[in-house]
């Protein structure tokens, strides 16, 4: 069952400027978590707000289940869409305590039902003892949980989450991610989740929608998006790829750091670019090598090395943390991915 169907959605804020969202289409299945990911200003938050009804689209349609939420001539205001939303700054009502915040969306229901629902949710997010507290007396993580509980309390047909963890510390963020994901799955909630953090996207999403400058570049599972990036941008954004130029030859692709024997659907002689990630390159010390170590970044578990090839291109590769090679050392870099790489025709 489809929980959300977005078709050719477009939105422009200031006439004369580029559209914030252009021709975006996707669907969300019941019980699925779709993550909208991309750099800041790419239109993912605007798309979310269009779905919520906080903005009106210029073109396109939005269907919630079978109901039309927005189309030419029709617009359902946010309060009638039955959507739950968790805001970036959690937006808890400061004048209401935790209990009342969560119960806010349950108005009109019989009080016994309200009480039960709120209790359930408090339990789920683990905040039972804090029911009477006010938002200002809660920590950041607690607030986010209350915001989630509030959004989920009316059993919405769709849950929207706008970078909910961005204000939290790293450790807390990781912990919250896990908790929230399992909670959402337990409730079989349909979710549209927005983040700029690709790692978070990869973790949270059943599917990812990668945005750039208002357009949807690729829609697919995390693996698809990561391994089979549809566009250069997606390849670069996911996994921080660098681009290595190469030429198609009968056996594969010839690059300055080696031959990549990967079948490619382009005529011999075509110039291409390979998206190379930090795990795709290997190197060893060689006084006659093709690159020089210019920096060593100690990441605890690994050492990441920045290598400058003689051609001027800088690539990254990692070694275990005990392998420490000095800056300035000449090394021989070699392409050694162990899996297919993303290949794109060379852009000029």
């Amino acid at each position: 069952m489809i929980a959300l169907d977005v078709r050719h959605l477009s939105k422009r804020f200031y006439s004369g400027q580029n559209p914030a969202v252009f021709d975006v289409s996707f669907t969300v299945q019941q019980g699925e978590i779709l993550v909208l990911v991309g750099p800041s200003g790419c239109g993912k938050t605007t798309t979310l707000r269009l779905i919520a009804g906080l903005e009106r689209p210029d073109a396109g349609e939005i269907y919630l289940g079978r109901q039309i939420a927005a189309a030419q001539g029709t617009f359902l205001p946010p309060e009638q869409r039955g959507i739950g939303m968790v805001f970036q700054d959690h937006a808890l009502f400061p004048h209401l305590n935790v209990y009342d915040n969560i119960a806010f969306g349950l108005r009109g229901k019989p009080s016994a039902e309200i009480r039960q629902t709120v209790r359930e949710l408090l339990n789920m997010v683990g905040l039972e003892p804090l029911a009477k507290r006010f938002p200002h007396a809660l920590s950041g993580g607690e607030r986010q949980r209350v915001a989630l509980a509030r959004a989920l309390a009316p059993h919405p047909v769709l849950v929207l989450m706008d970078e909910p963890f961005s204000s939290l510390d790293t450790d807390l963020r990781l912990e919250m991610r896990e908790q929230v994901r399992s909670l959402l799955k337990a409730m079989n909630a349909s979710v549209v989740f927005v983040t700029h953090d690709q790692e978070e996207a990869l973790y949270m999403g059943d599917r990812l929608a990668v945005f750039q400058k208002g357009r949807l570049e690729q829609l697919g599972t995390p693996e698809q998006v990561f391994q089979n990036s549809a566009t250069r941008f997606v390849a670069e954004f996911m996994g921080n790829s660098a681009f290595l130029s190469g030429e198609v030859i009968p056996g594969g692709i010839q690059t300055e750091v080696g031959l990549l024997s990967q079948p490619v659907d382009l005529p011999t002689g075509s110039q291409v670019e390979l998206a190379v990630r930090v795990d795709d390159l290997d190197f060893y010390p060689d006084p006659a090598g093709n690159a020089v170590i210019v920096e060593r970044i100690f990441r605890g578990v690994q050492n990441v090395y920045r290598l400058r090839l003689d051609s001027g291109l800088t690539l990254q590769a990692f070694k275990e943390h005990i392998t420490m090679l000095p800056v300035g050392q000449r090394i021989q870099a070699k392409l050694n991915p162990g899996h297919p790489l993303n290949v794109f025709p060379a852009s000029h």
């Binding site: 009804g53 009502f93 920590s139 950041g140």
Partner: protein
């Protein structure tokens, strides 16, 4: 930073979040809020009509009236008014900022008490202060010269409160609290790191003050200065009492003298023009006069030791508090006691025509209260429109609503008299016209307070309410309104306070037998019956102190 798990104090939002919220706010809502814009527009219209009318009258006035005025008085009045404005603004700035520095940054003994003493003169209308000082210091006749003469056996020269210097002195005494409060808050929120950085770079403390602290306060000081300037422009009672002619008092005299209102309209037109210029400057500077956000890394700037300057500082601070607060209150109390003890005086205090003291007090209270209520109610749609839906139109409407600030009470009264009599005669000579004058003059304060209150409430709260199933109106009533209510109440208290003190418009517009306390004091005092005026004056000051202390308690420095 390890902030997230520690409970955060209220209203602390990281700059990043603020930025995001702000950028969200700035994107225009696609659905233009027609109803809201309509309401706000109506309010602006209501406020603008008297002003436009007076300008039309001024422009359309007989060329002869212009000529006569230009020849005789206009330049002199202009010079007088500007000179007074400069002197008082300068004096208020110096006094207010230096007193604020003393109470917020130095180790002045008794700081806690001084804070209240420097803020309380706001409860004393300047003309009442003028009355007291006039009675005390009037050359040859004042209480002080006579006392000195009796003591020393020969006439002693004491500075006269009359004329330019006297008027400037009195006005500085009773307007410096504006600057004091603004600077006090600015001083208090200054980061230690600012000055520490300067010190590390080799700046000595005094130079640090001038190069770092003062410039950081500049927006706030500028705002305070312009407020004072606008106040002086509108000032009538004090300058009339102390016999220094400015535009406002000249207009009043014109109204009392001539049978033809044109000359008054002409003067008013010029006055309005002058005020609008100042208002424009003030609105421009307002955008920058935000208090620095107190971030979680905030540490209070270190207290400066006065050392050998302790005694002189104490004397100066004491002197300011003495002349601006203790003397007026003390003298008023003494006179009031005198008045109450003398049955003859008491009788005339209590009655005028058929009206008694309780009538005056009641009149003051209910007109000011109604004005506050109306002003706040009218300000809400305007503030909502300009804060939540910023656009050229909303900014324009908000600006128009600020115009009342620039229009002195005399001019508002004049335009109301002319307008209402022709258009709404049933309204004329009812107390309601007085309330309307108050509202016209004070809606700007209310709009500012409402805008400030709204700015504190993130729009995502309203969005969260919308998403939770509330219509826009419900979202406002259930979420926004409870949160801005304290700010609205503060705005109301401010309007209440300033309406209580209002004099020139009330004098001109009141129907027969309807006197407020302010008018009563004025009528008695202008006939020389100071002792009789004292109980009403004292009562006025006391009831003004109530909303004032409510307002002050919201300021950090009084918690």
């Amino acid at each position: 930073m390890n902030r997230s798990d520690a409970p955060m104090p209220p209203a602390l939002v990281s700059p990043l979040q603020r930025l995001r919220a702000a950028s969200n706010r700035l994107t225009t809502r696609s659905a233009f809020p027609v109803l809201l814009a309509g309401l706000a527009g109506l309010v602006a219209l209501f406020l603008a009509v008297p002003v436009v009318y007076i300008i039309l009258r001024a422009v359309g006035a007989d060329g002869e009236a212009w000529q006569r005025l230009l020849q005789a008085r206009l330049w002199k009045l202009l010079g007088n008014t500007l000179l007074l404005m400069l002197a008082v603004t300068g004096g208020a700035l110096v006094t207010g900022a230096s007193m604020a520095w003393l109470t917020e940054r130095s180790d002045l003994p008794g700081r806690k008490y001084f804070r209240w003493m420097f803020a309380l003169p706001l409860a004393i209308p300047a003309y009442i202060g003028g009355i007291v000082h006039l009675a005390l210091l009037r050359p040859r006749g004042g209480m002080l010269p006579r006392l000195l003469e009796n003591l020393l056996g020969q006439p002693v020269y004491t500075p006269s409160p009359l004329g330019f210097w006297g008027a400037a002195f009195i006005l500085i005494l009773f307007t410096f609290p504006y600057v004091y409060l603004l600077s006090g808050a600015a001083f208090r929120s200054q980061h230690a790191s600012l000055e520490e950085a300067a010190r590390m770079l080799g700046y000595r403390p005094l130079r640090t003050f001038f190069s770092v602290a003062l410039p950081a306060m500049r927006p706030g000081l500028l705002a305070g200065a312009l407020l004072v300037a606008l106040d002086i422009l509108a000032e009538y009672g004090t300058v009339a009492l102390l016999r220094y002619e400015t535009f406002s008092s000249a207009i009043f005299v014109q109204l009392s003298g001539r049978y033809d209102r044109s000359a008054a309209a002409v003067l008013s037109g010029v006055l309005v023009g002058l005020a609008v210029i100042i208002l424009w400057a003030e609105l421009r500077s307002q955008g920058r006069a935000r208090f620095t956000q107190m971030e979680s890394s905030w540490r209070p700037a270190p207290t400066i030791r006065l050392g050998k300057w302790r005694i002189p500082a104490l004397l100066v601070a004491g002197g300011v508090a003495f002349t601006s607060l203790l003397v007026p209150v003390g003298v008023l109390t003494t006179w009031s006691i005198q008045a109450v003890l003398d049955p003859e005086t008491l009788r005339s205090v209590l009655h005028s025509g058929s009206m008694g003291f309780s009538n005056f007090a009641w009149n003051s209270l209910w007109t000011s209260f109604l004005a506050a209520l109306l002003a706040i109610t009218l300000s809400v749609p305007v503030a909502l429109f300009s804060v939540r839906h910023p656009s050229r139109i909303s900014r324009f409407i908000a600006r128009v609503c600020q115009v009342g600030y620039a229009i002195p009470g005399v001019v508002i009264a004049l335009s109301l008299v002319l307008l209402v009599n022709r258009a709404l005669p049933f309204l004329y000579a009812t107390p309601l016209i007085v309330v309307i004058a108050y509202v016209l003059r004070h809606v700007p304060q209310a709009v500012r307070a409402s805008e400030a209150a709204l700015n504190q409430v993130s729009p995502t709260l309203e969005e969260a309410a919308r998403v939770s199933g509330r219509t826009p109106v419900q979202a406002f009533v259930q979420v926004t309104f409870p949160l801005i209510l304290p700010g609205l109440l503060a705005g109301g208290a401010l309007v209440f306070l300033t309406s209580l003190k209002e004099l020139p418009a009330t004098l001109l517009l009141r129907p027969a037998g309807f006197d407020t306390l302010a008018v009563r004091v004025w009528v008695w005092a202008s006939d020389g019956f100071y002792v009789q005026a004292a109980p009403a004056a004292l009562f006025l000051v006391l009831i003004s102190a109530v909303p004032l202390s409510f307002l002050l308690r919201r300021e950090q420095i009084f918690k």
